[in-house]
């Protein structure tokens, strides 16, 4: 017999998609039974009360959570989000229901022994509910009480060699795509770079010293599976600068229909025979491809690496060999002045360990933002407020046409005194000798 009736939530148990309601119920039942005799450190009926308060939200069409106060672990300014229920008498099990962010491994690969240990810890000291994973990338441990926070942190660090992630005005937990681990499109080792930057900047990740949040995301190629270009203050997107490798025989295989185009991605509909002219050459955004008899020719100098032809003919075309990444900066969600996409700062940079060039760019950006950024001002907003040119000054990066979609349409250039011969200190007396008042 359930502790709370949940007729509205019950309607979300039907249908094919995995039901979170069914999962919550199975967790509630598991805690009630407690077959493993766990000495639960937070209320045993926490999940039942969570179902109850969620049902109430479905009735009221309003949340029943209050914003948390300051909770955390000693020495860290992030990684824990305080949360309290606004109906603690009705739902005492979730009266205190704090979240902990656990820094996920790059690439989100796991071994089951690690996950099991995490489950055991969270069963024992938390609600047994998680997010696999949160939007930023962390494993989210959802719901525990204040006295458990240090205990969980102690066990994570001592028994699992595992740290918390970021929250607040910190470096947020970096995240990456599957990369070279299992993708032939990846132009650099996203996991290696993601992990290296996470470890290098632990202090920035745990101790708030920034004007606001700061996100790194690492995409292996311009397909941007981890959406770095839209949602990270600093986006690292893989790129090659030499030639697409072409296997002409495989090109003929696609033309002749022996190879399945698009790696089979369009096989749910009969789109007709693969037509290389129509599907590749004509819609290549730079028009840099032609068929010369039986040979596919690519004018690589004009290619912008959009990935379409490679996505469509993965067995015939491969990314180049001289690879690295581009760095784009300032992406963020709309609040406040509208959404911002990442803007290109570094067209191409080496991704070789120990990543000194990349660190130099990161640190020069941070120096500027920490000096000039207002409270709660994201990097993208600072770039807008002080100007793209200011960012180039502060990072010592030379302006180039790649930086703009098009040059400015107004001539209102703010010249600097030193750019104009003689500077701004003109002599009015000298001027008046030749120009009467």
């Amino acid at each position: 017999m359930a502790k709370h009736e949940t007729p509205l939530l019950d309607q979300l148990e039907s249908g094919p998609w995995p039901s979170f309601v069914s999962d919550l119920k199975q967790e509630a039942a598991s805690r009630a039974k407690n077959e493993k005799n766990v000495e639960y450190q937070i209320p045993q009926d926490v999940v039942e009360d969570l179902l109850g308060v969620l049902e109430l939200s479905f009735v009221h069409k309003r949340t029943h959570w209050k914003h948390g106060g300051i909770v955390g672990v000693f020495g860290y300014g992030g990684g824990v989000i305080g949360r309290y229920c606004d109906q603690p008498e009705m739902f005492p099990g979730v009266a205190h229901f704090h979240t902990m962010r656990v820094n996920q491994p790059a690439g989100k690969f796991y071994k089951t022994d690690f996950l099991r240990n995490l489950c055991d810890l969270w069963d024992f000291r938390g609600s047994g509910l998680t997010n696999m994973h949160g939007s930023t990338g962390d494993v989210i441990l959802l719901g525990t009480t204040t006295p458990q926070l240090e205990e969980i942190f102690f066990e994570l660090t001592h028994n699992m060699n595992q740290d918390l992630g970021g929250s607040g005005s910190n470096l947020r937990t970096p995240s990456d795509c599957v990369g070279q681990a299992r993708c032939e499109f990846a132009c650099y080792d996203t996991q290696a770079l993601c992990h290296a930057m996470t470890v290098e900047y632990q202090d920035e990740l745990h101790r708030p010293a920034f004007p606001y949040k700061f996100k790194f995301k690492f995409d292996g190629c311009p397909n941007c599976c981890v959406a770095s270009i839209a949602r990270s203050d600093m986006s690292f997107i893989g790129r090659w600068k030499d030639e697409i490798r072409v296997d002409q025989e495989a090109v003929q295989g696609y033309i002749g229909g022996e190879l399945v185009p698009n790696g089979g991605a369009h096989s749910g509909r009969d789109w007709g025979a693969f037509d290389i002219q129509k599907e590749i050459i004509d819609i290549c955004p730079t028009g840099c491809m032609t068929m010369d008899g039986k040979e596919l020719k690519i004018n690589n100098k004009e290619c912008n690496c959009c990935m379409h032809c490679i996505n469509a003919m993965p067995r015939a075309l491969r990314i180049g060999k001289d690879t690295g990444c581009s760095i784009l900066v300032g992406a963020k969600a709309p609040i406040l002045d509208g959404a911002q996409m990442g803007s290109l700062l570094v067209p191409f940079i080496s991704t070789d360990d120990p990543y000194d060039e990349i660190k130099e760019v990161i640190e020069s950006i941070w120096d500027w933002w920490m000096e000039e950024g207002k409270n709660r001002e994201r990097l993208g907003e600072l770039i807008k407020r002080q100007g793209f040119q200011k960012m180039l000054d502060m990072t010592n990066i030379k302006p180039m046409p790649q930086h703009v979609q098009e040059p400015r349409t107004n001539p209102y250039i703010f010249w600097k005194s030193e750019e104009v011969p003689g500077g701004f200190d003109a002599d009015i007396t000298e001027f008046r000798k030749h120009h009467q008042r």
Partner: protein, 381 residues
């Protein structure tokens, strides 16, 4: 429920303290076939919806079976995932950016048993535990935020809207009939922890009423300057009010300047803004993050408001369905939703999707608005 110590000594928090160690090193979690062939993959193919093979220079193959998952997941469910990974995948697995679960095996012989084991598992309520799909020109899992399960500013639920939407879109999770991939995402308030601003279809929770003012407690509960500073549109100013004959320091909100972001509520619990009639769903469409063929694009607001129809949001799912079907019918191969809308013109998008165009959809927010108005005679009647 006796307190069990981990070994942490609250009197000496620095004793034996371990900090700043970061996450696990990723390569400790690579399945052997991944560790061996990393950086040497030749090509991949989607063998059927949800099943991929990647072939390496060495001739090795890795077969991946991708399953949908609710990102809200219990340890019981994770243990079941572990059991499956131990049984079929030598104890390895991974999660994707879109909250899918990937089970990998190193030979084709192992795929059928794995698939069968996954498909056979259902929750007591009848839904699949591990539906296979989410690849190619179809609809993958919806990335989303916390919603009513755990957040203080949501204008809608996240897990509920996503479950309702994915039940409707389920056939396209397991099919690849669309002109290109179609990415759906959900964020439960305009702060967009879930960054839904570049999705083919975005579900966004939205408040429509300014915060209420709990004058009696406001000065006691809040730092008034912080609440004022939190407002992105400078709609809040200090004020003096009289409650029950007592003069109190409080704030006043200029209603017409409020954008309902809830940032003041984050700073000041005496300014709640959740409201059953005010809160609901905004639908956006036509965004993408990929650089393939066309540049990344922001999503555009196509439906200004739909009410929170718990528990299954039928108006929302019906509108999403109409968009998906119109796109499936009208777009050329490789066109994303936004590319299609731009080619046919947004005026035709509203026709094709049978969505009413209302004044709310014309941008009037700051400078960027101007660039979205029609400044050409190249339009369709």
């Amino acid at each position: 429920m006796a307190f069990v110590s981990s070994g942490y000594n609250p009197d000496k928090p620095m004793e034996n303290r371990i900090s700043d160690i970061g996450p696990q090193k990723f390569d400790a979690f690579y399945p052997p076939v991944i560790g061996k062939n990393k950086g040497k993959w030749l090509y991949h193919e989607i063998l059927e919806p949800g099943v991929l093979v990647h072939v390496a220079e060495s001739g090795d193959e890795v077969f991946t079976v991708r399953c949908g998952g609710a990102r809200l997941m219990s340890v019981t469910h994770i243990r079941e995932i572990c059991e499956l990974a131990d049984k079929h995948c030598d104890g390895y697995l991974r999660f994707t950016t879109r909250n899918n679960i990937e089970f990998m095996v190193d030979s084709k012989d192992k795929v059928d048993a794995l698939k069968k084991d996954l498909v056979d598992r259902k929750f007591d309520g009848g839904s699949f535990k591990f539906p296979i799909g989410g690849t190619g020109a179809g609809i993958s899992n919806i990335v989303h935020t916390q919603g009513w399960i755990h957040c203080h500013t949501p204008a809608s639920d996240a897990s509920g809207t996503v479950k309702a939407a994915m039940d409707e879109l389920f056939k396209d999770f397991q099919d690849m009939r669309l002109p290109a991939k179609l990415r759906v995402s959900m964020a439960c308030c305009l702060n967009m922890c879930g960054a839904v601003h570049c999705s083919d279809i975005a579900i966004l929770g939205y408040h429509r009423k300014p915060p209420m003012l709990d004058h009696e407690y406001l000065d006691k509960m809040c730092e008034i300057p912080l609440a004022i500073a939190a407002c992105p549109t400078a709609a809040i100013k200090p004020s003096k009010v009289e409650v029950n004959g007592k003069k109190l320091n409080s704030v006043a909100v200029k209603d017409e300047r409020c954008m309902y972001c809830g940032n003041c509520y984050t700073m000041c619990p005496s300014m709640p803004l959740a409201n059953a009639e005010g809160d609901g769903i905004v639908l956006m469409a036509g965004g993408k993050v990929s650089n393939r063929i066309s540049n990344p694009k922001f999503s555009k607001v196509v439906v200004a408001f739909l009410p929170n129809e718990t528990p299954r949001w039928p108006s929302m799912t019906a509108t999403i369905n109409r968009m998906v079907e119109a796109y499936a019918k009208g777009a050329n191969k490789y066109e994303r939703v936004g590319d299609w809308a731009e080619r046919i013109g947004w005026e035709r998008f509203f026709d094709a999707c049978e969505i009413d165009f209302t004044h709310h959809l014309i941008d009037d927010f700051r400078d960027a608005a101007y660039y979205t108005w029609r400044q050409t005679t190249n339009f369709k009647l």
